[in-house]
Subunit: 440 residues, 2 copies
């Protein structure tokens, strides 16, 4: 046995068998279609880049998790660990070839050698979308609307998008003289949902004293309504500024579309540390709050800061596809078929293989996925295999006849002596899935 | 300037800007749809695997080209350099979970640190499809038909698929006592198209003498027709056997579908060395023969030999997506749009951003991709940007009116005081692209 290599995959990596991969691909297709309807265009960047580019000035967690090595030319290279850093590099390099504002999406795998946990993998798919080259409210709003719309397109209507404004938070911290501690404060507040109010209070008290902790807890508390919360935040930050106006404008836009009930102004949302400067947001499924945010993002002043002296403001978000898939499964919303096959053609006589394919071509031309069995096994075995393959119908060609028997594998009924047109008609009446025609 | 990192990608790697990426994605979508119509299902495997698994017993070229390194746990890992080895590992691991014959496709990136040349990259996309678990002619034929059909679906009709049978070739070599040299002979013959007949003759003469070289050149010469070539090969191999029957059956199947003119029996096709045991084939574009084969493959006795004692015969092929894209470009067949956008909505008043999005949602609901401009620039600038973004129409909302001006950016004509329904009707009349609905 020693000559065989044991087939296995690395810890934190996964094979996708057809049922899971079909679900993933159909989900991605629906997400992409939603993005395209908003005028977003796809880009792609290499999986492997210079480590210097990917790590930037960074270090810390990222440095520990990144897959980094020397290539054949002794270059210091690494696998991308997100799609944001490559996008920043991409924009710095190509911005003069692209019409601004530029709206891109990028759905691709990223790799992080971090500790594996339930639902956390070392290879996973991100799904990013951004509008860069404008700092207008309309761009913030488009991202928020597209998040809502895209989740709706995949069957998830009951969501809450929680948003906050990093600039407003910073004004509040500045007013109380806590800006020097802002990194620790934002990090602590970000953990509120995880660690609870008591522990948050203790951690904050270490930084700004008991009274300060109480003030911050009062700031990050969500009031009854978006307007009430905004009024409180503005007061505590020292009065109205452009950040308040931004949040007011966004609320007005939400009202214009009648979608304001899906949004909560939540000052405890801070989203990481250095990157974001304006609105930040996270998306929660109301029927499954424990799974955490399935789509998060925010506005940043300057995407390309690391790679260019020019400024490029933007706003964007990212869907964690693996978490979303887990959520859909938990919600019982996965609806993907096991295969695309509608019709299977039984093999009665091996020498008729060409004619079976000619028959199959007629189903395929009508948009019906069709499987041709290559081996003349017993019909009962072929029925069983067709069911396993997800087919609804089986065509049984009769020797020396130009008509066919059509078996409905769900009702187990046979209809005999049918022409191809008659079979097509019967199959269409069942509403079996027809392949979309690529019109674009 | 020293604080900026120069944005650049590694040699042999590429960014895909939207026009190229849209073309790539739409091509992949059409290829996938064709595969699905034949009942093939997608799988996915990790980009990173144990080096031992990927390299198998191999070595040589592969070993030199593979991106291999130690991960955080000091595991010896590597990036996949093709999709065949991971598929073999996948089947050895999961075959009892899958109905046989199993028909899978896998479209994904692979990495090879080889020397870069024009059109050859270190990161490229492969597109594999296989039927495993059956040794029947019908499976060989389905792969051949699907190759032809898939190229036809992307607009490439004028192709020639050249096929051969490795078993027949081996019988011929055995008969003349040249089987010990078969590896070198097959390798030499494989280069015939590249190095020419004279050099091939010299190389073969070194192995089997002048007379032997003449015999092999006579063997690998394609005669007038499939039948004539097959008769000669069978004679030279010492008479009829199952390999001749296989090639006869395939020809009969081709005739049953009336597609035999696309196939040539070409005994100079050998396709690599160890892997294939039955029919092998390469696909050439008649209008662009110099680009080489865009889709190649063959039949193998045992996919999982490295990872399991069980047998698993199969047949499959691979489309080189990057070469195919280069070919489509050379043939002037790229037809992808620069973007998906049909309609752009002008920004006249920034505060109306919500209403513009509400309007856009009506176009999107009709399947028309719609862009909303966030900045109230001069209309002439917005027209120019809309054209750059690939929009055909621009909607200009008038202040305080519920009707709109629709500008056809191709004719530069305005139509005024239109309702949304009237705009939709006018846009549809132009045959502008409508997003397909995901029915599956």
């Amino acid at each position: 046995m020693a000559q065989y290599i044991e087939p296995r995959v690395l810890k934190g990596f996964r094979d996708f068998l057809p049922p899971a991969e079909i679900e993933r691909r159909l989900l991605i297709e629906k997400i992409e279609q939603s993005f395209r309807l908003f005028g977003f265009v796809p880009i792609d960047t290499p999986a492997l880049e210079y480590a210097e580019i990917l790590l930037g000035k960074g270090g810390g967690e990222t440095e520990k998790q990144i897959y980094r090595f020397k290539d054949h030319g002794e270059r210091d290279v690494a696998l991308r660990f997100d799609l944001t850093v490559p996008f920043a590099r991409f924009m710095a390099e190509h911005r003069h070839e692209l019409p601004l504002p530029f709206k891109r999406y990028h759905i691709a795998k990223v790799w992080r050698g971090e500790n594996t946990q339930r639902g956390r993998y070392r290879e996973f798919t991100q799904c990013d979308f951004d509008i860069v080259g404008t700092d207008k409210s309309a761009a913030d709003f488009e991202i928020l609307l597209m998040m809502k719309q895209t989740l709706s397109a995949i069957g998830v209507q009951n969501i809450t998008i929680r948003l906050n404004h990093r600039g407003l938070f910073n004004r509040f911290l500045h007013r109380f003289g806590w800006l020097p501690h802002s990194v620790e404060i934002l990090r602590t507040v970000d953990k509120l949902a995880k660690i609870g109010e008591a522990e948050t209070r203790d951690l904050l008290a270490n930084l700004v004293g008991q009274e300060g902790a109480a003030t911050i807890l009062s700031y990050i508390h969500t009031e009854g309504s978006y307007e009430e919360t905004l009024r409180k935040l503005t007061d505590m930050a020292g009065g109205k500024d452009s950040d308040t106006e931004r949040l007011e404008t966004l609320l007005q836009f939400m009202k214009d579309l009648g979608i304001e009930s899906s949004f909560v102004l939540d000052p405890s949302i801070t989203r990481g540390l250095d990157y974001y400067t304006g609105v930040v947001f996270e998306t929660f499924l109301n029927d499954l709050p424990d799974i955490g945010s399935v789509c998060s993002g925010g506005r940043y002043d300057n995407l390309v800061a690391l790679y260019s002296r020019e400024q490029l403001p933007g706003v964007g978000a990212s869907i964690g596809l693996d978490r979303l898939l887990a959520a859909l499964e938990a919600l019982g919303k996965e609806t993907a078929p096991r295969s695309f096959v509608v019709v299977a053609i039984a093999c009665v006589d091996e020498r008729q293989g060409g004619r079976y394919q000619a028959l199959a071509q007629q189903f395929r031309a009508a948009g019906l996925a069709c499987e041709v069995f290559p081996e003349p096994k017993k019909l009962s075995q072929q029925f069983a295999l067709a069911e396993k393959k997800g087919a609804r119908f089986m065509v049984i060609p009769q020797e020396g006849e130009s008509s066919y028997t059509l078996r409905d594998l769900s009702s187990r009924e046979n209809k005999e002596h049918l022409s191809v047109d008659e079979m097509l008609k019967l199959i269409r009446q069942t509403g079996s899935p027809v392949m979309p025609q690529n019109k674009i």
